[in-house]
C-alpha cells in the first residue's frame, strides 16, 4: 500500500493505483475528457492535471501512478490556470451552438467551462473547419465540435473491434477519419454507435434521436433490448409518453451482459415503437375485410369462436403459437391458455426459425 497526501488529506491506496483514482478517493472531483475506465489510457486531454510537489511539470493524474509520500494539489492556482487555458483552447476550435446542440446539458466541455467560469476564449482565431458531412442514417459526425479526446477511435477498436476510424494528419490538422475520408457507410463501420456512447461532447450524435428531446428533458427507463438473444441492457429515453432515444448503461452492476455496448439494432432500431403502422385497435374480419371494433366485441368474438371450435372439433384441432418476443409472463400465460383453457399441448413458437 502507498500513502500520499491529496489536498491535505492522507490517502492510502494499493500500489499501481493511478493518481486520478487516488484523488477521487480523497474526494477531489477531477475533470477528465479523454479518460474512460474501459479504454486504453490516452493521457492526452490534460484536463486531469494535478500539481505534485517537487515536480517541474503538472502530472496528468489518469496516467501517473501514485507514489509513496507524494503531496498532491488538485485545484492549485497552476492547475486551475492550466485547465482554464485548455478549455479556452478547445473552445477556440469548437463550434459553439449549444442552443441547438443535442448534447446541451449533457456535455463535458459545457460542464467544465461552467465549473471554471470559462465564458470565452482568448485564443480565438481560425474557426473550426472539421465538419464531415456523412450521409448515413445513424451517426452525425460534426467534428467542428470535436475535442480530439480519441475515445471514439478507442471504443471502435477496443469495444466493437470495427476499426473503422482513426486519426488522420497531425498537429492541429489531426482529425478523426475513416480510411480515405469516406463516409462511414463505405468503411468497416457497423453502426454500433459505441462512438456516440463515449463522445463527451456533441461531435457524434444519433441522427435518429436528433431534435426529439435533450437528455435532461427525458425520463430514463432501464430495460432489455428486444432484438437478439444476447439480452443487452439499455435505457429508453422517454418524453411525453414517446420513446425518443436509447442510452447505454455502462455500469456493469446494472448492465452485466453488455456494459453499455450495443449493436445498430439496439441503439438505433427502437423507432418501430412509434411507427404510424402500429396496431391501435382490435380488428375483426367482416365481409372479408378487417375492420376496427371495440375490445369487448373482439374478445367476445374470439372467445366464442374458440369455444365453438373446441366443442365441434375437439381441443386437439387447436393450437397456440406463443412468441419468442414477448415476456416470460406472457409466454407462461399463452401456454396456460393452450393447456388449461383450450386443453391442448399444441403450443409452440418460433424457437427453431
Amino acid at each position: 500500500m502507498i500513502n500520499l497526501t491529496i489536498d491535505g488529506k492522507n490517502v492510502t491506496v494499493p500500489r499501481g493505483t493511478m493518481l486520478l483514482e487516488a484523488c477521487r478517493l480523497a474526494g477531489a472531483d477531477i475533470p477528465t475528457l479523454c479518460y474512460d475506465p474501459e479504454l486504453k489510457l490516452a493521457g492526452s486531454c490534460r484536463m486531469c492535471v494535478v500539481e505534485v510537489e517537487g515536480r517541474r511539470t503538472l502530472a496528468a493524474s489518469c496516467v501517473t501512478p501514485a507514489e509513496e509520500g507524494m503531496v498532491v494539489q488538485t485545484e492549485s492556482e497552476e492547475v486551475v490556470e492550466a485547465r482554464k487555458v485548455i478549455l479556452e483552447l478547445l473552445l477556440a476550435r469548437h463550434r459553439l451552438d449549444c442552443h441547438v446542440c443535442e448534447k446541451d446539458g449533457n456535455c463535458r466541455l459545457q460542464d467544465y467551462c461552467y465549473r471554471y467560469g470559462v465564458k470565452d476564449s482568448r485564443f480565438k482565431g481560425e474557426e473550426p473547419h472539421f465538419y464531415k458531412d456523412d450521409p448515413n442514417p445513424f451517426i452525425e459526425r460534426d467534428y467542428d465540435k470535436c475535442i480530439m479526446c480519441t475515445k471514439c477511435v478507442r471504443a471502435c477498436a477496443e469495444i466493437t473491434g470495427a476499426f473503422a476510424i482513426n486519426l488522420k494528419n497531425r498537429g492541429h490538422e489531426v482529425v478523426i477519419s475513416t480510411a480515405f475520408d469516406g463516409g462511414l457507410k463505405d468503411s468497416t463501420c457497423v453502426f454500433c454507435g459505441q462512438c456516440v456512447m463515449v463522445c463527451p461532447v456533441g461531435a457524434l450524435v444519433s441522427k435518429v434521436e436528433k431534435g426529439r428531446g435533450r437528455d435532461y428533458q427525458t425520463e430514463k427507463v432501464r430495460t432489455i433490448c428486444s432484438y437478439c438473444g444476447t439480452g443487452c441492457t439499455l435505457e429508453l429515453k422517454v418524453l411525453n409518453d414517446q420513446v425518443v432515444g436509447v442510452n447505454s448503461v455502462r455500469d456493469e452492476r446494472l448492465s452485466p451482459v453488455n456494459r453499455g455496448a450495443l449493436c445498430v439494432k439496439g441503439r438505433f432500431g427502437w423507432d418501430f415503437v412509434n411507427s404510424k403502422e402500429r396496431l391501435t385497435q382490435p380488428l375483426v374480419r367482416k365481409d372479408g375485410e378487417l375492420v376496427p371494433v371495440s375490445w369487448d366485441e373482439a374478445l367476445d368474438y374470439t372467445a366464442s369462436r374458440l369455444k365453438e371450435i373446441k366443442e365441434r372439433w375437439g381441443a386437439g384441432s387447436m393450437a397456440v403459437f406463443t412468441s419468442a418476443r414477448t415476456t416470460n409472463e406472457e409466454n407462461y400465460l399463452a401456454q396456460k391458455l393452450a393447456r388449461a383453457v383450450i386443453g391442448t399441448n399444441n403450443v409452440d413458437h418460433c424457437a427453431r426459425l
Partner: protein, 528 residues
Amino acid sequence: MTNSIKDLEEEAEVIFLIGTNTTENHPVIGYKIRQNVLKRGAKLIVADPRRIELADIAEIYLPFKPGTDIVLLNAMMNVIIKEDLLDEEFIEKRTEGFEELKATVKKYTPEMAEAICGVPAEEIVKAARLYAKADKAAICYSMGVTQHSKGTDNVFAIANLAMLTGNIGKPGSGVNPLRGQNNVQGACDMGGLPDVYTGYQKVEVEENRIKFEKAWGVKLPPEKGLTLTEIINEAVKGNIKAIYIIGENPMLSDPDSRHVEEALDNLEFLVVQDIFLTETALKADVVLPGASFAEKDGTFTNTERRVQRVRKAIKPRGNAKPDWQILCEVASRMGYPMRYDSPEEIFEEIRSLTPSYAGITYERIEKSGIQWPCPHTNHLGTPILHKETFTRGLGKFHPVEYREAAEMPDEEYPLILTTGRSLYHYHTGTMTRRVAAIDQHRPHNEVEINPRTAETYNIKDGDMIKLSTRRGSIKLKAKVTENIKEGIVFTTFHFGEAAANHLTNANSLDPVAKIPEFKLAAAKIEKI
C-alpha cells in the same frame, strides 16, 4: 448456453464457432469474442460455408460444405482419439458410451472428411489439436448447426466433442448455442413447447401433470402436442382448425411460404395478436393489438439463461393492451377466470411451479439479472451448467452418423441455397423494416454469390437475378463476393418482397426437433 457470455470475453482460450455468424446475429457477443482474440490472444476456429467476419481473425478457417457438419465434427474427434488428446479423467468419471463413440468416429478420418466437407484434411487435424489442447475451449453454435434435417444430430456431435475433451462444466468452455431472439430462451423455459411445462417439466410425466393440474385447477391433456411445423402441415391437411398466434409471423419465418399460406387459408379461425399488421395478421379473422417491449413490465431470459427485467416506459399505443392482459381476457371470456394484477404476480406463480426459477424474484433482479437454475432465494444463480454432474447424471455420448441432406443439388438445381440473417435486420423485418434509419440503410434483399459461380451465369455485382428452388422463385440483387464458396448462394429472410422462405423446404424436418432445413436447399439462379 452452458456457460456465460462473459466467459467468451474473459476466460476461453480457444473458441470454436460453427454455424454462427456471431458479429451479425449476436453482435455484442461477436465484439466480446473479437476482443478476447485481440486483447487476450484467444484463438478462433471458424467453421462456416460463408467467410464470416470473424474468419478474418481466426487461427483456422474451415469453409465446409453445408450439411456436412457431422463429418467435420466426427473427423475432429477421430484425430483427438487417435492422437490421444482426450480428457481421460473426464470421460471416466463424468460420461458413458465412449466406446460406442470411438467405434463410430473411427472411419471418419480427416482424409474422408476432406472428400465430403471440402476442407483440407490437415486443417481439420490442426483444428482438432487446437481445440483439444486448450485448457479452456468453448464451442458456440447457432442456427447454422440446428436448421438442418439432422440438426439434432449435429448438436449431439458438438456435445460429444466437448465431453471428449472435458470442455464442459468449467469456466471458458461449454456448449453454447447462441439464441436468436430476445426471449426465445424464456419462451422455451416457460413451456412454450408442445412437450413440456415450465422449466422443461415433461407433460408426459404424470407427477408433473398432477402438479400443474392442481395449480391450475383443471384436467390437463396427457400427450405431448404438435410442433409448429407439424401444426402447419396438419392445418394443410385440415386437421387443425384454429390457431392463436402471438407475436409471430410464420408467413415469412416458416419454410415454404406457399405451404404456410395454404395452411392458414385452410383454418376455420385464426387469431393474431401482434403490434403490426404482419403478413400473417392479414390472414387473420381477429387481430388483437398487443404492446411492444417498451410498453409493459415483465422479464426476458437471455441466451445465457439470465432472467432480466423488462420495464414499461410508455403506455401501449392507442387502444392496444399488454399481451398478458389480452390473454387473461380471452381465457376469462372462455370460462376460465384468469386475473393478475401485474406481471410480477404472474412471475410469482411461475416460480412457485418452476424449480429452476424458484429463487428468482423481481426484487432480486431489480439491478442485474440472475442465471437459472436458481433454486432458492439465497442462491446466486448458475453461470456455468454441469459443473459437478449432468442433469441426467453421467453425460452420454450419442454417436451420430452422416447422412446426406434431404435435398441435394442436381442438374436442374445445381446450387446450394443457404439462408440466414443480416446485422441490420431482425427476423421477418416486422420491427426493423419499420425503423426508417435501418430500412434506409438496408432497403433490399441480396443474394451472395461467389465470383466464379457468378461468372458461370454471366452475373455481375448488383445485377437483378432470379433465384429459384422447387418451391418457387424470388427476384433480388446479386452480391458477388469471395466470402462464399463456389456453388453456394446465401440470402436472408427479412424481406417480404423477396422472401427467402418462398424457397425453403418445409418437407425436410429434423426428426426430433422438427426443425426445418433452412440452411440447405437445391437452387438455381438466372440473370433477368
